[in-house]
């Protein structure tokens, strides 16, 4: 095994789980998210020796792959099959679980690209410029999607939703 491949393996082992979470929040389906991560990381593998910032590159590739997955014509059927499975049994019925289901339902009402913008900005902490670079879209689009996405979430989750980067919107 070459040093580069060993580096890549280490990177994947450390980041695959969190990248899958990112993809899941973007596409709303664990199985599709895993397909997106596999597709994106296989591209990263090919370009590994030319990638300066693996974290940023992989994050961008995974989110765009997750958006692409939702645009595929076969996605709806795949989603249907994947959604066929009931949610995992929850360990208890606390507010945490309620919040989780609530935010998942709220995110599901947004188009994938808006979800991606919110996730990159408010979970990953990226700026407007960094988000635009990650999604390969203009900064104006990021600002518009941020505003629309937050409005939609507030309509569903209530006005007590707090966001750290709102001043930058």
């Amino acid at each position: 095994m070459s040093d580069r491949e060993a580096e890549f393996r280490e990177f994947v082992a450390a980041r695959m789980e969190s990248l899958r979470g990112l993809a899941y929040l973007t596409c709303g389906d664990w199985q599709v998210a895993e397909d997106a991560v596999l597709a994106a990381l296989s591209r990263v593998y090919v370009k590994w020796s030319r990638v300066d910032n693996p974290d940023a590159y992989a994050r961008s590739a995974v989110v765009r792959a997750a958006i692409d997955e939702t645009r595929r014509p076969w996605w709806r059927r795949e989603k249907a099959h994947s959604h066929a499975m009931p949610d995992r049994a929850e360990p208890d019925a606390t507010h945490t679980v309620e919040d989780r289901l609530h935010i998942r339902a709220a995110l599901a009402t947004l188009p994938p690209q808006q979800r991606a913008v919110l996730v990159l900005r408010f979970l990953e902490g990226l700026s407007v410029r960094q988000t635009a670079a990650a999604l390969h879209c203009p900064e104006g689009t990021v600002k518009a999607y941020t505003s629309r996405g937050l409005d939609a979430l507030r309509r569903i989750l209530g006005n007590d939703l707090e966001v750290r980067h709102e001043a930058a919107v």
Binding site: M16, L25, Y45, R71, W74, R77, A80, P111, F122, E162
Partner: protein
């Protein structure tokens, strides 16, 4: 006050266990690199061939014949009375674009990726003659066109701006096809792919394993051949009741959670190593896994938790093999009768 970042963190909690590991990612990466290299090599060959062939083509009168649907509706001799899972297109090139061999065959047709330099640009979806029950909700027309003299239409699925777009056309009387577009595959390129498509006949789908057992009254609905790496090889089933609704009314099926829940799938991924024990089926919450070190494969089944005993038996009935026609890969009891 609820912090959005906390809510997002919470939303991705309680994730199901990962199906794949580092070996799978590396294997998918190697496959992609090989495909890229092959794609470039093919491109060079095609460029040379085109340089030689173009003067001859230009010198000849237009001899293109209108498409004819040959044997797509013919019942294959190996599976009399069952729904055939057939590739309805074959690989071809249009400029820099390459339409791959179909990787997914189902009751609603076959699907092939459209690639440029090894990167996915869109998809070609061919429906069998007479099948038109697919729906994309309240899509909007983006304009009409003609494809080889037949009417075609650019459409966007759903009302949402930025929704996926496609070109739909009739490739033969009563036979519909779609080119799925993307920001990297524009209308003109989609039309070029459509115009270069020629129907093929009886090309059976193949998979890399045989199933000796399928639980309950599940019927095979879709086959993923694994040709579109890294998507795994997968057979997907529905109960007879759900399958009948799905065939009759796709929208009613899509809107019914209970029917959609009546699904089961089994997939095979190449895996030389795994976190799972060799030869033992592990099931949890509607997912069963079996790693077979001897064959270097990870088998996974997914369905309702109540089906776990059946899924376990199904995984143990798998025999890995090369290029098994779907007709021979699944017991007759799990095959849809032809209508």
């Amino acid at each position: 006050m609820k912090q959005l970042s906390d809510l997002l963190r919470e939303a991705k909690a309680e994730a199901p266990p990962l199906r794949l590991d580092v070996d799978n990612v590396v294997a998918a990466g190697r496959t992609r690199r090989r495909r890229r290299n092959t794609g470039w090599a093919l491109g060079a060959v095609v460029t040379v061939a085109a340089t030689i062939a173009v003067p001859q083509v230009l010198a000849r009168p237009e001899t293109r014949r209108p498409p004819v649907v040959a044997a797509t509706s013919a019942t294959p001799s190996s599976s009399p009375g069952f729904f055939p899972f057939r590739a309805l297109s074959q690989p071809y090139r249009v400029g820099e674009l390459r339409v791959e061999e179909p990787h997914q065959m189902g009751v609603d047709g076959s699907m092939a990726r459209i690639e440029r330099d090894g990167e996915e640009m869109g998809a070609l979806w061919i429906l069998p003659p007479g099948v038109s029950n697919f729906t994309w909700g309240d899509g909007v027309s983006l304009g009409s066109t003609t494809v080889n003299g037949r009417r075609g239409e650019y459409r966007r699925a759903g009302k949402e701006t930025g929704g996926p777009e496609y070109l739909e056309w009739q490739y033969a009387e009563g036979a519909t096809a779609l080119v799925w577009l993307s920001p990297r595959l524009d209308h003109a390129e989609g039309k070029a792919v459509a115009e270069a498509f020629e129907p093929v006949g009886d090309v059976p789908a193949t998979v890399g394993f045989r199933l000796g057992y399928v639980p309950g009254d599940y019927q095979l609905m879709q086959v993923n051949t694994g040709a579109a790496a890294p998507m795994p090889m997968r057979l997907s089933f529905l109960t007879t009741e759900a399958a009948l609704v799905r065939l009759r009314d796709d929208q009613a099926f899509a809107a019914d959670d209970e029917l959609r829940g009546a699904a089961l799938s089994v997939s095979l991924t190449r895996a030389r190593s795994s976190r799972y024990p060799d030869g033992e089926v592990e099931c949890a919450e509607g997912e069963c896994r079996l790693w077979r070190k001897d064959a270097g494969v990870l088998l996974q089944a997914k369905g309702l938790p109540a089906e776990e005993p059946g899924m376990k038996r199904m995984l143990l009935s798998v025999t890995p093999a090369e290029d098994v026609p779907v007709d021979d890969a699944v017991p007759a009891s799990a095959r849809l009768p032809r209508r």
